[in-house]
């Protein structure tokens, strides 16, 4: 990996070891972009395209922006839930189970004021996980797939070296509140900073305020993503709730700029994060991207 700071500080490129081989592909899909970073052994472009097709296929069936998708047709009352494809019914059932286990903190049926069933908070993580499975099957044993800040990792960044994932500070886009090292697993973050107040507590119709962001680390992005959304709404108690799921841990950043780690997350902790004193400095409120 190129070290830009050292490079600009005057260390000649010749004195540094070269970057690991990697193959990068960026795919616009699902209203975001998904980047694939494949390390050896490489797979051919067709395998990456097949993984992308998984994403496009799920997007076509689940997009609420497309009136003719399955969910679009459900929203328009043109089809009954029992007539939907098995995947869609499975997703809705998984969302219902989450609504139950979170006491309504995650609810695909109630969170929109217009009553439209909207499992998009669940679909993205699941879709990326499905795409990575396809890549995995093709033999890409070392890859990192990122979808708008949610990440799935397989294998290693380089022989003997785990993937290093930074957790963005919610208030200061250019600072890392935490760094974790993972091999096989997922990292998902929920917060209010990215697109304004897009997370709403359906139970109370309020915007959660206890945490600035909550990150979940665990084996599967499907659940890591959904747990992050749920636990962010729950606030501080959400951290313990995440930890109650075997294999899953959480990192919470509180409104008072504390960085809280559950034991499972702490087991993945790596160096490289900015010092807490750096994180407590208030930045400009528009420093979003």
């Amino acid at each position: 990996m190129t070290d830009l700071h050292r490079a600009t500080a005057g260390v000649d490129a010749a004195t540094r070891s070269g970057p690991p081989h990697r193959k990068v592909h960026v795919e616009p899909v699902m209203g975001t972009i998904v980047s694939f970073d494949v390390r050896p052994p490489f797979v051919d472009q067709a395998a990456i395209e097949a993984a992308c097709e998984v994403l496009h296929d799920i997007d076509r069936r689940f997009s609420l922006y497309s009136p003719d998708s399955e969910l679009g047709r459900l929203a328009r009352g043109l089809v009954a839930e029992s007539e939907l494809s098995p995947d869609v019914r499975w997703v809705l059932a998984a969302c219902d189970e989450l609504a139950r286990s979170t006491g309504g903190a995650f609810d695909a049926r109630l969170h929109r004021p217009d009553g439209v069933v909207d499992p998009s908070g669940f679909v993205k993580g699941w879709a990326v996980e499905e795409a990575v499975c396809r890549l995995d099957d093709a033999g890409a044993t070392n890859c990192l797939v990122t979808a708008g800040g949610d990440i799935v990792a397989r294998g290693e960044a380089a022989p003997g070296i785990a993937w290093r994932i930074g957790i963005r500070h919610p208030e200061q886009a250019d600072r890392l509140a935490a760094v974790v090292a993972i091999r096989r697993g997922a990292v998902a973050t929920s917060g209010l900073y990215e697109r304004g107040d897009h997370v709403r507590d359906a139970r109370t119709d309020t915007i959660p305020r206890e945490l600035l962001s909550l990150t979940v680390i665990g084996p599967d992005l499907t659940w890591a993503d959904a747990y992050a959304t749920s636990a962010f709404v729950m606030g501080r108690e959400g951290l313990a709730w995440v930890e109650s799921h075997p294999g899953y841990g959480a990192i919470g950043i509180t409104a008072t700029r504390e960085v809280l780690w559950t034991p499972t997350a702490d087991g993945r902790r790596a160096d490289g994060a900015d010092a807490p004193v750096e994180l407590s400095r208030t930045s400009h409120p528009d420093a979003l991207s």
Binding site: M1, T2, L4, H5, A7, T8, V11, D12, A13, A14, R16, G18, P19, P20, H21, R22, K23, V24, V26, P28, T32, I33, S35, D37, F42, Q45, I48, A75, R76, R112, P113, D114, V116, T146, G148, G149, I151, A153, W163, I165, G166, R168, P170, A173, D174, L176, V179, V187, T189, E194, R195, G196, S213, T215, G272, A273, D286, A287, L288, S289
Partner: protein
């Protein structure tokens, strides 16, 4: 009626998403090399040109294409020139980064394209330098990915990485 209301709400939701996602371009702090690259400021139209990475310079085997395969920098790599990363096409505009390299050292990072839009100008003054610092932070901490980052910053990092790969760095 219900369908129409749902459609109207969806349209309003889309409009809101468009609004909050617009990030105006221009960065006074960045060297005066910011180009619009075809994005029409204010109208929110997106550039749909082909995705091409280009590079000019003296590094061997420069490739900045959409599927850049990086080669390790050979010992004694003294790349010089400008290297342009992949033009990442996002839902609300393109992101493209160019680096200037002198004797294997990066001397500048420039955003050639950032999503443009009619959103408040005061945000535009902050976005580009933040994206740049964000990418530099991740680079300096040897970070492979950032959780919680927006897709704009993800695109910026990907384009920067392609430029670095093109430079053989």
């Amino acid at each position: 009626m219900r369908q129409r209301a749902a459609a109207a709400t969806a349209a309003l939701g889309l409009a809101l998403v468009l609004l909050v996602n617009f990030r105006a371009p221009q960065d006074a702090a960045l060297v005066g090399a910011v180009q619009r690259g075809g994005s029409t400021a204010g109208s929110g139209s997106t550039t749909t040109g082909s995705s091409t990475g280009t590079s000019t310079g003296t590094a061997g085997g420069s490739t900045g294409g959409s599927a850049a395969t990086a080669a390790p920098a050979g010992a004694g790599s003294t790349a010089s020139g400008t290297f342009t990363g992949q033009d990442i096409q996002m839902p609300y505009g393109d992101v493209q980064v160019r680096i200037s390299v002198k004797n294997g050292r990066i001397v500048d990072v420039t955003a050639l394209n950032l999503p443009s839009g009619g959103h408040s100008g005061r945000i535009s003054n902050f976005v580009a330098p933040i994206l740049r610092r964000q990418a530099l932070t991740a680079q300096s901490a040897n970070i492979d990915g950032v959780s919680g980052a927006t897709y704009t910053s993800q695109a910026y990092a990907a384009s920067l990485q392609a430029a670095l790969d093109a430079a053989g760095m």
